[in-house]
Symmetry: C2
């Protein structure tokens, strides 16, 4: 196993950061590494908003469900799917442009995620820690207002970045055999593999909490799916010109 694979496999979310800034030249290097990720047809359908204003950081921390590290991390980024720049470029070159297709929603969301993951790995390779903040989708319209996002740009997730002030364990993942299938989707063993993983997560939570947390993977998922999580997302995306056609 080479050091890069070792780095990838040692990822865990960091939510407590030292009071130490990321040097500007390193910060820009992380962004460049992000941009080097593959991009669908070279569209580069993303924009990063680097939120520096402390008041806005606090507001977004609240909007994301009271996640204080959004305000406290050295740096906080919002990764936005952006179909504005590329479609306007094509328009200026004379194209009669179609916008708002579901395909563009998929392209821009995937482009943004690939880019962000490169930023994450570049950061970890320099000893930084991070956590993704999906919570900005709790109140995406308010976040979009704060960042003054125009139509055809939507905030996919945030990312807290900084020097780690904690050292959490790596969280287990499903066995490879559950998520990797040969030639076709055969789920005959899924129930059994999930049960094994539930046992493993049960032990993990017990150990982490000194025996206080009686739960497992399936139990932890329940609240995510029993209520309609972020039911506004469909109207929000349609309203921003994503996915209506």
């Amino acid at each position: 196993m080479n050091p890069t694979i070792e780095l990838l496999k040692s990822h865990r979310s960091i939510r407590k950061f030292k009071d130490q800034k990321i040097p500007q030249d390193l910060f820009e290097e992380l962004i460049r590494a992000g941009q080097s990720a593959a991009t669908s047809n070279h569209v580069q359908a993303y924009t990063i908003i680097h939120v520096v204003n402390p008041e806005n950081r606090k507001k977004i921390a609240e909007l994301a469900g009271g996640q204080s590290y959004v305000a406290d991390a050295s740096d906080f980024l919002v990764f936005c799917a952006d179909m504005k720049r590329s479609t306007e470029a094509a328009e200026r070159a004379g194209a009669d442009v179609v916008r708002g297709t579901t395909e563009q929603l998929v392209v821009a969301s995937v482009d943004t995620a690939l880019m962000a993951q490169n930023v994450a790995i570049a950061a970890e390779s320099e000893g930084l820690g991070l956590c993704y903040i999906g919570g900005i989708r709790n109140n995406p319209a308010e976040v979009a207002d704060i960042l003054r996002l125009p139509e055809h740009v939507y905030p996919v997730f945030g990312m807290c970045l900084g020097y780690p002030d904690q050292n959490p364990e790596v969280k287990p993942r499903l066995p490879v055999s559950a998520i990797l299938k040969e030639d076709y989707y055969d789920d005959r063993r899924d129930e059994e593999l999930v049960a094994e993983f539930d046992d493993r997560m049960h032990r993990y939570y017990l150990k982490r909490t000194g025996g206080n947390k009686e739960t497992n993977w399936s139990e932890q998922l329940k609240p995510l799916f029993t209520t309609k999580l972020r039911p506004h997302m469909r109207d929000f995306l349609n309203g921003r010109g994503f996915g209506v056609k």
Copy 2:
């Protein structure tokens, strides 16, 4: 710049591969590295189909728009967004589950992309090359049939993997100043920065083609947006139980 960042910045798509297999233990290591990526609320909303059957590889190569490397690469993977496994696990644990929300489409697509990008980087760190195949979305229903994908699973993109038999240049990216903004979305300089990038891409295409390709970034984007690319994606995703609510 450390070797991992150097690796990230040296990415380019590989479409020609040596006739050399990826060892099985390395292959599994790549998948494990993929799984180590961040995942929204630990949902792990993805499945990889490793397409081994040569007939199916040929069919998918055709369906993706005649991309022969889909059939020829050492390995071909289809990365699927999967809300089936996790929602069924929650259901077995007693949850009355809501499916088909737009939020779940975003979560599963992003989870899948983060995981795939880790696979890509792990592969490149071992001297392998790859290209993403968005073309499977040209005919996603047919691809889903070949892979026997159930409801709540959709094929986001493919990936060709293997030992490179070509050494293309790294393709330029937009300047950092175009895609990174401080505090809010300020696009006053976008037109100027895109024009600069168009010049850069113009020189890149001329050089690559010995002076034969007179084009630039904006020109290359035009055909993507003038016709409705993959207009079936909305109905396809709705039909698979993604994004209807």
